[in-house]
């Protein structure tokens, strides 16, 4: 499968390497060329400098033939906009969006975006780590 990842932060870079490790074709987009160092020297995929909310940039990245699109930048609104373009304009079959704000996540889940909120997941993981530890002491 061919996946485009928008945002080469810690999550984006890790996701890119995981997908590439499974043998998938990956292109990573970021507005900052310095971000690509996070991919490491052995990343076999493609990097592209550009803003994923620009349709011309997405076309150049090959969105018309992409099987999956993941928006993992720091900006919820940027992720939301890029994901909607991928899903509704280019009909990418699988689109996932990172949204920090749980309320916005609800709104866009209702609108049909597949969303992942690190805020919700992180809090749940921390909670279970804390309460599990308590259980262990009893």
């Amino acid at each position: 499968m061919f996946a485009i990842i928008m945002g080469c932060g810690r999550v984006g870079a890790r996701l890119a390497n995981l997908l590439a490790g499974q043998g998938h074709e990956v292109t990573v987009l970021d507005v900052n060329s310095q971000a690509f160092w996070r991919l490491g020297p052995d990343f076999p995929g493609t990097t592209m400098l550009g803003n994923g909310i620009d349709v011309d940039v997405l076309r150049r990245a090959g969105i018309e033939r992409a099987d999956a699109f993941a928006a993992t930048t720091q900006g919820d609104n940027r992720n939301i906009m890029a994901s909607q373009i991928a899903k509704h304009i280019f009909n990418v079959p699988k689109v996932v969006t990172r949204i920090y704000d749980p309320i916005r996540q609800d709104t866009y889940a209702e609108l049909g975006l597949e969303t992942v909120s690190p805020t919700v997941l992180g809090a749940a993981a921390l909670l279970s780590a804390i309460t599990d530890q308590d259980d262990g002491k009893e």
Binding site: I53, D54, V55, D56, G75, D76, N77, R78, I80, M81, A82, Q84, I85, H88, I89, D101, I103, R104, T107, E110, L111
Partner: protein, 220 residues
């Protein structure tokens, strides 16, 4: 009319000011507290500090009874989300978004925004009126060689349409190197005929640019 203006920068400030002067009820939502203070000082108690893309802020702003949501922050993505949340969550009857990238106009419409305003497009429109018709546009200048790569787009008024390149009396220091026809590049030979709609890319010395234009457009 109750109008909510999201974004209290220069556009939002003057928009709010005009709306107030016209007698409308206006609320400006702005993230930056300093900017909020300036608006409050100048325009009165019509500003609320907060992120307009957050549903709780829009709820407090009374978006459910707003007649129009106008999102004029500097970022297209923020304006999109503000308008979408206003529309989907609060049933705002009319949403207007400011955009920077003119190509977002169509995208925003497909994503449910009622209207967009692009200053880029407005300026472009004015510029195009000012530009001479049938322009030969410089694409690239090689200053050290005094050579230019230029382009012109033929229409059915161009006298060279229908003629092969060999018929054109181009100066020796000028060459047509590429045609783009319907998105397809054509590397022409002397028998290639020009058609209306062709994008003609030529390399010319600066001296012969005027002559090239005369040949392609016959002095039009």
């Amino acid at each position: 009319m109750y109008a909510i203006v999201a974004g209290g920068g220069k556009v939002g400030y003057y928009l709010a000011k005009e709306l107030v002067e016209q007698g409308h009820e206006v609320l400006v939502i702005e993230r930056d507290s300093k900017q909020c203070a300036i608006i409050q000082e100048d325009l009165g108690d019509i500003v609320m500090q907060g992120d307009a893309a957050e549903a709780s802020v829009l709820a407090e702003a009374g978006t459910a009874r707003a007649d129009v949501m106008v999102a004029v922050t500097g970022d297209d993505e923020d304006n999109l989300v503000i308008c979408q949340v206003a529309k989907k969550r609060f049933r705002a009857p009319r949403t207007i978004a400011r955009i920077n990238n003119p190509k977002n106009e169509q995208i925003f419409r497909m994503l449910g925004i009622d209207a967009t305003v692009s200053s880029t497009d407005v300026i472009l429109g004015v510029l195009e009126q000012e530009l001479p018709a049938h322009a030969v546009i410089p694409l690239l200048r090689l200053r050290h060689a005094d050579v230019e790569v230029v382009k012109t787009v033929l229409d059915d008024q161009a006298p060279v349409v229908g003629r092969p390149l060999r018929d054109l009396s181009l100066p020796a220091d000028c060459a047509i190197v590429l045609l783009v026809r319907g998105g397809t590049p054509i590397f022409p030979n002397p028998d290639t005929r020009l058609t209306a709609g062709d994008e003609v890319i030529a390399v010319t010395t600066t001296r012969s640019e005027a002559r090239l234009r005369d040949v392609l457009w016959a002095g039009r």
